[in-house]
């Protein structure tokens, strides 16, 4: 299996070829005009009575465009900040979005209730206003106010001490995914990390946001278009999804689609808020989604409701599979020295086998069949290279047998509780729709077997030919790139052009399609994936779960007998060790070294990591210095040694991360200066870089052990951060301008012009990037539809088979019985505790941010509360609003209980992200979460199964936890 983890050589001096080609794509499209903002002059009306008090309330000194730029909500909304007497007095949405098409609703007035009161949050008690040093024990709450200089010195010295003692990798930086923007702040943090070469935690999967099932099936996972494209769907399935809570600005498109004839279907064990406006609710037993989905696929196939062309061209279902091994027929089976990634179909036109177009060993660029007619039925005998013979069949037939044997609508009923008639109704609706979509995004990765649900859903979308249709296909999420931000962030975000251009001779995507003017588009997602994987390997990125296993003390949980997965033949520890030994999973610093300095910026590990008691017991005891930058008190910040207060969102220049949901990029101007002593994160990490150099000089330290065995000269740190003095830590605005003027997809607009708009229209194509996988063409006059590169342009998918892949014949998948999509009982289902604790992103906060905001708490029960079915409460003698104790073998916590008819019996639902300090004894809902990861998520060495930053590593599964409940004493 030679194909994966291919190290891309960072070459020098290859730029010449590129220049001639490279220029055209930098130009925005012609004819873009930005909307004019016309001012209305209004006279204050005065009646000279009580009513003037109200008129006076609604006045302001100035209006500034802003947003919640580093909040990790999956939206981007532009706001008008009404500034009065030096504070942002209130905010109201900026409503400048225009319809992309006449027949599709516009994006106004995107926003939510949290955004509508962020101005309140930044004035609350939770705001941190001064740099602080811990003087008591960790977490004791005893602090001393210090100056910024003192704070910088303490951190810089600790970094130097760590680097001298054990190398720079023992400094670990964690932005947790929680604190990313596309503006100066994240840019500065990335530059700090790159200048040092410190370890960076990759928490994407670690927080449970990685759709591993899609990585396995597609070789990518971040695919979506604009949300107005949802409006064009005819059959919208929300599956492990609750956008009414989580996508408040976007969900109107779904409800409006119903008014143009779409059906809205929810698959969820509980009657969720998103179910309120549905046409059909399907309520499988908790964690049995895969069985239900596979049964629907079975019905579609057996009733010939599938899209024949899509099956033959876009999936691996016509691929020949050996009956003796259950694996694909490969070239190495047939010829001496044959490839292990060249696969075959049976060509009905010529009645012989043929190499499958698009698979990795065939070149891996195009799916075009060029006259081939892949069979999906038949059985043939092959002469193998070793002289033996083997029967082969198209995977389609293998899949049919598998589904017929295990997942007919009748057979699934005993697992899911769903009637066969309901499966049939759903399958017919889905297959019969002009454009069917499934919405199931990162939040849908938090059950142990989520990847199996995703493979079943992907199978449904693939066989119905839904992918690539306007309003169709599996929707996850995606981003626009912002070239300026990526370029300034470092090579792992934006590889140098010359390296990209070197790949072009290999790539065929553009040929004959008039797309060659744009060299970035000539590359296929497969080449991009190679490039990014190569770059990722050059940096000490470490996925969170392996990090916690080796450095966090979590081996104490995950090696324990009770946390082994009985479906795997070996102990989970074996898989971790093998993955690390084979280089499938990177681990920095190496296991034998201890972490000296841990810096987290906005992340809230003691809220979010599984079993936080384990982190406190181990990692928090062994790490020398723990540093937090935040604008508010999080539980984790309360357990830090040094607290560096950063500016709140309306107090800085920023760019909200550029979700592809809307064809605009949201920028934020500083409305008021940072409160107290707080500073923009941009300045903090610039100044820290400088301090490291100064302290190193004072201490006479120069070269230390750098990342990945390289040498780090500490004298260079600030030069790298500042691009040899070009960047000034005091000039965030300058950096912001640099980003925007280098970003062709926003017309290289200046910051000043951008601030007038707040939301800057996207005007041209983005290239495939680390996180942008829209995989469709951008047109300013149309909705953005993902996957069209594959379905319309016939570009190969970035999998080893080049198709949406439903057989994973990696040895680990074979040995765990997951080579074909299956349903498996989760650890929670097998637990001896009768109830299952589940969760979900909640309506009232953005993760833990705003969880403690008084105004919003008053619109809830004011304290953490779980929903339970009334009968489950009755049998335990519980009454509405009782304090209950939830426990299992691993941990316990307390919260209040609400009876709700909408809950499936057996479920205990606590929407997430309450701060541990909101629970008695600061024991939160993560305490009973032992969260063993699934060994297959460590698999590598197989096409799409490989690690890179923000791609494919183990998730953690905080949902579906076996617990029991009793009244708290």
């Amino acid at each position: 299996m030679a194909i994966s983890r291919r190290t891309f050589m960072v070459g020098a001096g290859a730029g010449v070829v590129g220049l001639g080609l490279g220029l055209t794509y930098l130009r925005p499209r012609e004819g873009i005009t930005y909307p004019d903002i016309i001012k209305t002059l209004a006279k204050k009306i005065s009646y000279g009575d009580w009513s003037d008090v109200y008129r006076e309330k609604w006045t302001w000194d100035k209006v500034v465009k802003g947003s919640h730029n580093r909040a990790n909500c999956f939206s981007a909304c532009s706001w008008n900040l009404y500034v009065k007497e030096g504070i942002v007095w209130r905010e109201e949405q900026n409503t400048i979005y225009e319809q992309t098409r006449e027949d599709v609703p516009d994006f106004n007035p995107r926003g939510c209730q949290k955004g509508a009161c962020y101005s309140d949050l930044q004035q609350e008690e939770s705001r941190i206003l001064h740099p602080l040093k811990r003087i008591g024990e960790r977490g004791e709450g005893k602090w001393k106010r210090i100056s910024w200089d003192e704070a910088y010195d303490i951190v810089a010295d600790a970094v130097i001490d760590a680097a001298v003692a054990d190398g720079i990798e023992t400094v670990v930086h964690d932005n947790g995914t929680t604190n990313n923007d596309y503006g100066p702040d994240s840019g500065s943090e990335m530059r700090w990390c790159n200048a040092l070469g410190c370890t960076q935690l990759d928490s994407w999967a670690g927080v449970g946001d990685m759709p591993n099932g899609l990585v396995q099936t597609w070789g990518m996972y971040n695919a979506d278009g604009t949300t107005d494209d949802w409006f064009l769907s005819d059959y919208i399935v929300l599956w492990v999804a609750n956008p009414t809570y989580t996508r408040i600005p976007d969900v109107h498109f779904i409800h409006e689609a119903r008014y143009r004839g779409a059906q809205l279907v929810i698959v969820s064990p509980d009657f969720s808020a998103s179910t309120v406006h549905a046409d059909l609710w399907i309520n499988p037993e908790q964690e049995t989604d895969a069985a239900f989905g596979l049964a629907a696929a079975n019905f579609i196939i057996e009733n010939k409701l599938y899209d024949d062309e899509a099956v033959r061209e876009q999936t691996d279902l016509p691929f020949l599979v050996r009956e003796d091994t259950g694996r694909y027929l490969r070239e190495e089976d047939l010829n001496k020295g044959g490839k292990d990634d060249l696969f075959y179909i049976w060509d009905e036109a010529r009645n012989q086998i043929a190499a499958a177009p698009g698979c990795a060993g065939e070149g891996g660029t195009h799916l075009k069949l060029n006259g081939l007619k892949p069979a999906i039925d038949g059985r043939w005998e092959m002469d193998l290279v070793d002289g033996s013979k083997a029967w082969v069949r198209p995977l389609f037939q293998v899949m049919r047998d598998h589904l017929n044997a295990n997942y007919t609508p009748e057979k699934q009923e005993s697992t899911t509780g769903v009637k066969p008639s309901v499966v049939e109704h759903f399958a017919r609706g889905l297959a019969g729709a002009k454009a069917a979509m499934i919405y199931s995004t990162w939040g849908a990765c938090k059950n142990y077997h989520s990847d199996l649900y995703q493979r079943a859903m992907a199978l449904l979308m693939a066989i119905t030919g839904s992918q690539g249709k306007k309003g169709g296909g599996y929707r996850v999420a995606a981003w626009w790139e912002l070239k300026g931000a990526d370029e300034l962030g470092g090579a792992e975000f934006q590889p140098p052009l010359e390296d990209v251009l070197k790949m072009i001779p290999k790539a065929m995507r553009g040929i004959g399609q008039g797309e060659f003017e744009n060299p970035m588009k000539a590359l296929t997602p497969r080449e991009w994936e190679w490039i990014y994987t190569g770059y990722s390997n050059n940096f000490p990125f470490t996925p969170l779960m392996p990090f916690l296993y080796y450095h966090g003390g979590y081996d104490t949980i995950w090696d324990a007998e009770e946390n082994q997965d009985p479906d795997f033949p070996r102990a989970t520890r074996d898989y971790m060790k093998e993955a690390v030994a084979k280089g499938w999973m990177p681990i920095h610093p190496p296991p034998e070294k201890k972490v000296h300095v841990y810096i987290f910026t906005g992340a809230n590990p003691l809220r979010r990591w599984p079993s936080p008691q384990t982190a406190k017991e181990h990692f928090w005891k062994t790490t020398d210095l723990i540093v937090s930058t935040n604008f508010r008190w999080s539980t984790s910040t309360l357990f830090a040694d040094i607290v560096m207060p950063v500016a709140a969102y309306y107090e800085k220049y920023s760019i909200k991360y550029c979700v592809s949901a809307l064809p605009y990029i949201v920028v934020c101007e500083q409305a008021t200066p940072p409160r107290g002593d707080s500073k923009m994160d941009y300045e903090v990490f610039g100044m820290l870089s400088k301090r490291v150099v100064e302290r190193a000089a004072e201490r006479g330290v120069t070269e230390v052990e750098g990342p990945l065995g390289r040498t780090l000269d500490l004298r260079t740190v600030y030069d790298v951060w500042s691009m040899d003095g070009e960047l000034d830590p005091m000039d965030a605005l300058g950096y912001m301008d640099r980003i925007l003027t280098r970003s062709p997809n926003v017309g290289n607009i200046s910051a000043k012009e951008a601030f007038k708009l707040g939301a800057v229209p996207v005007v041209s194509e983005s290239t495939f990037s680390l996180v942008n996988q829209t995989c469709g063409d951008f047109d300013t006059e149309d909705t953005m539809t993902p996957y069209q590169w594959f379905t319309r342009d016939k570009v190969a998918w970035p999998t080893i088979t080049g198709r949406q892949q439903f057989l994973l014949d990696h040895p680990w998948f074979v040995e765990s019985g997951e080579a074909l999509p299956v349903h498996k009982d989760s650890p929670g289902m097998l637990s001896k505790y009768p109830l299952r604790l589940t969760s979900g992103h909640n309506r009232w906060s953005i993760h833990s941010q705003q969880r403690d905001q008084k105004m919003l708490l008053r619109l809830q029960r004011g304290e953490p509360a779980v929903w339970m079915h009334p009968k489950d409460m009755e049998t335990r003698g519980l009454e509405d609003h009782d304090m209950i104790r939830m426990y299992n073998h691993h941990g316990e916590f307390e919260a209040r209980v609400k009876p709700a008819a909408r809950m499936q019996p057996g479920m205990v639902q606590l929407y997430h992200a309450w701060e541990p300090y909101q629970f008695k004894g600061w024991k939160s809902q993560q305490e009973p979460v032992a969260a063993p990861w699934k060994p297959t998520h460590l698999a590598g060495g197989y096409g799409q199964l490989h690690y890179r930053f923000y791609y494919n590593s183990p998730g953690h599964a905080p949902r579906g936890i076996g617990i029991e409940v009793e009244k708290a004493s």
Partner: protein, 338 residues
């Protein structure tokens, strides 16, 4: 009598229960300390006890033209502005005090029964009902006030004249929708003002203009071009909440549809929606059932490839057209001195 009548239509098929409306109103009008417990805009999960608790059982309004006795809702029934111990938590240290509501533990709040709903699983159901003052055409509050402190403006907005109000609170008893609060500091009753300072400048209400669900239409009821006119008068798909209360509200609702039920054997019952007709009738009267029939019919039409003018208006392709001409963008306003 007012010359014209401003009205609002709320499409319950689009409401998210997100409370952006509630928060928008609070940040604009009710942020003073004495007003902290007030929520001029509320959103409740229905069926439920709502805000104030069991308001539908509190009386008031008119029956056969006669004013009815009503209960004066207490601060506890509305839900108080709970206080917290943030300072103590942030300086108290590990596993010390945790963040809690201080003082007496509350038993109710403005959104206490959020997402609880009714029915028997799996035929559970609920929906969201946002409410503001209805700016009624026969306002019980006006009739009840001995000081004649409550006025109906020329544009139909009902306001409490705080110069005249002496805080007798008869209006709070009389209003059958229980949308009036008491300000103990000022000694006056206060309620939704239909954002008159905004409306006067051609800007629609904060709760409507900030609603991300895009459920709220605003305009003059007699303006034939306005969406409110079409939905209420022309097509009759938006109806009054509890018309039997007799106050002739000017907030109208498009009644909610709901997913099909399961029958006793777990099969789909394609004939019956989850929300029982009786309950819809309880809320919106016969007119509500009729409005829902029209919506159902229109939805069937579009599903079969047909066109529906009604549904096109409800979709609100162009958001600014929801506001019956009250579509000035407030951010474009620069105040000039008089």
């Amino acid at each position: 009598m007012s010359k014209r009548q401003l009205a609002m239509v709320m499409d319950l098929n689009k409401c998210l229960g997100c409370h952006t409306c509630t928060v928008a109103c609070k940040r604009l009008w009710t942020r003073d300390e004495a007003m902290e417990y007030m929520w001029w805009n509320t959103v409740n999960t229905m069926p439920g006890k709502g805000t104030p608790r069991d308001w539908e059982e509190m009386g008031g309004g008119f029956k056969d033209g006669k004013p009815q006795l009503g209960h004066l809702p207490s601060r506890e029934e509305f839900g108080d502005a709970w206080k917290y111990n943030h300072e103590e938590v942030f300086s108290g240290g590990k596993a010390g005090a945790h963040l809690e509501i201080q003082g007496k533990k509350p038993e109710w709040g403005p959104n206490w029964d959020e997402d609880q709903g009714a029915g028997e699983y799996p035929n559970s159901y609920f929906f969201y009902l946002p409410r503001i003052c209805n700016h009624c055409s026969s306002p019980a509050c006006v009739a009840a006030c001995p000081r004649k402190a409550i006025e109906k403006r020329e544009d139909g907005i009902v306001v409490i004249n705080e110069d005249r109000c002496r805080g007798y609170r008869f209006c709070m008893e009389a209003c059958p929708y229980k949308k009036i609060y008491f300000n103990p500091d000022k000694g006056v009753s206060q309620k939704c003002i239909f954002c008159f300072p905004r409306v006067e400048q051609g800007v629609s209400n904060a709760c409507a203009r900030q609603c991300p669900g895009r459920i709220r239409f605003v305009g003059y009821l007699d303006d034939e071009n306005s969406a409110v006119h079409k939905l209420v008068k022309k097509w009759k798909v938006a109806v009054r909440l509890h018309p039997e209360y007799g106050t002739k509200p000017n907030v109208y609702y498009v009644p909610p549809t709901s997913p099909m039920k399961f029958d006793a054997d777990g099969h789909l019952d394609e004939k019956n929606p989850r929300i029982p007709e009786d309950y819809l009738k309880f809320l919106f009267g016969e007119e509500g059932l009729e409005a829902k029939r029209i919506i159902d019919k229109e939805m069937a039409t579009v599903r079969n490839g047909g066109k529906s003018e009604i549904l096109s208006v409800l979709i609100a392709y162009k958001w600014s057209e929801m506001f019956g001409g009250f579509d000035t963008d407030p951010a474009t306003i620069e105040w000039t001195e008089v």
